[in-house]
Symmetry: C3
Subunit: 153 residues, 3 copies
């Protein structure tokens, strides 16, 4: 089997770019995950997976990551992205939720808290805390707002 | 290289949720794949990969999975999702197809059978059987129909 | 951790299909990546990763791949896809960009060159060369244009 991740951090950033993909790339760079190969996952915090905000990811490595993002080319538009990691009160797995939209950071965070709460209710689990990372961006030309939970070893 | 999967099952489920992502999450839970990290793949049944409907996936593990889904927030709308695993008459690899749409389960299954047939024709391979999982859902508020083929070890 | 890829090639192809997913599948086959499980990545050329145009991928294997594609069902429409691998003048990692759109191959390639250039500028790195693969397709019924950079070991 593929090795189950043991560490994670939460991150969010926004950026402009000269194209949609480079706006995304620039946001990844500002979020400290621009020089790795993100593999998108859907999205459970493995049992025992530890929060490590100082994690350094080797360049070019394959990094399982839960993320949400939004790209807009409408000048003046407000875009936001948020991730939330629901940590379990018991010593077992948690749940990760991602959200992005044409809304404020506050609305994105509220959505995330509700989604994590619902995911814990659906599993009959008790929520200890929610680790949040979020960002709000006013589009200049082409902008991207991104939030991510990289999982690592 | 990454280890090639050796087992699989087919699954489908639908659910409502209070948001789009939690509708998806609830459908994953009902499909028995809600507590793992899905890595979406596109989508070959590896040679020798065995059907194991009793597979238990460790919580939080990285699970290569072919899947299709549809989310709708239009009350009363019918949505369906279907996967099909084309098993080869020869002892070699097969092909997995996914479909989702605003249609009945029957239409989704017909589409999948045609797609698997076409994929086998394109490869000059003979089809032994098609393993199908499908689901149909009438949206109440926010609903998700999902079908998946988790690959495992 | 997941093993970091050591080899890559660039490829592009287009095809018709009787459905959207089989058009995509047929394009993958013509691009020599139709019989593996693509895992989409976002998208760095790992340090020391070598170009190997003769790479053979084992059937059914999990292949980290950066790719872009477009599917259209409008007869006569021109669609194109392109990938570019920016190779670093220094002996370190590079950057991969993907593009697809309703445009000519030439426009797609120009976009890719600009995106790779911007990604190198953003990192303060010097570009040695850009390896390009691109394809242009005129849709008959349902067509797909696809370009990809499979990463391997």
């Amino acid at each position: 089997m593929l090795p189950t991740p043991k560490k994670y951090f939460v991150t969010a950033a926004s950026s402009e770019g000269r194209s949609e993909l480079t706006a995304f790339d620039n946001a990844l760079l500002k979020a400290r995950i621009g020089n790795v190969n993100l593999i998108r996952v859907s999205s459970i915090l493995p049992p025992g997976c530890q929060h490590d905000p100082e994690l350094k990811l080797p360049e070019g490595s394959l990094v399982p990551t839960a993320y949400g993002y939004i790209i807009s080319d409408k000048p003046g538009e407000i875009i936001s992205a948020c991730v939330g990691v629901g940590v379990n009160a018991s010593d077992t797995f948690g749940v990760i939720m991602e959200f992005s939209g044409k809304c404020s950071k506050q609305v994105a965070e509220e959505n995330i808290r509700n989604m994590v709460q619902e995911a814990f209710e659906a599993r009959g689990m008790e929520l200890k805390e929610v680790k949040i990372a979020s960002v709000e961006h006013r589009v200049e030309k082409i902008g991207c707002a991104l939030a991510a939970v990289p999982l690592w070893y």
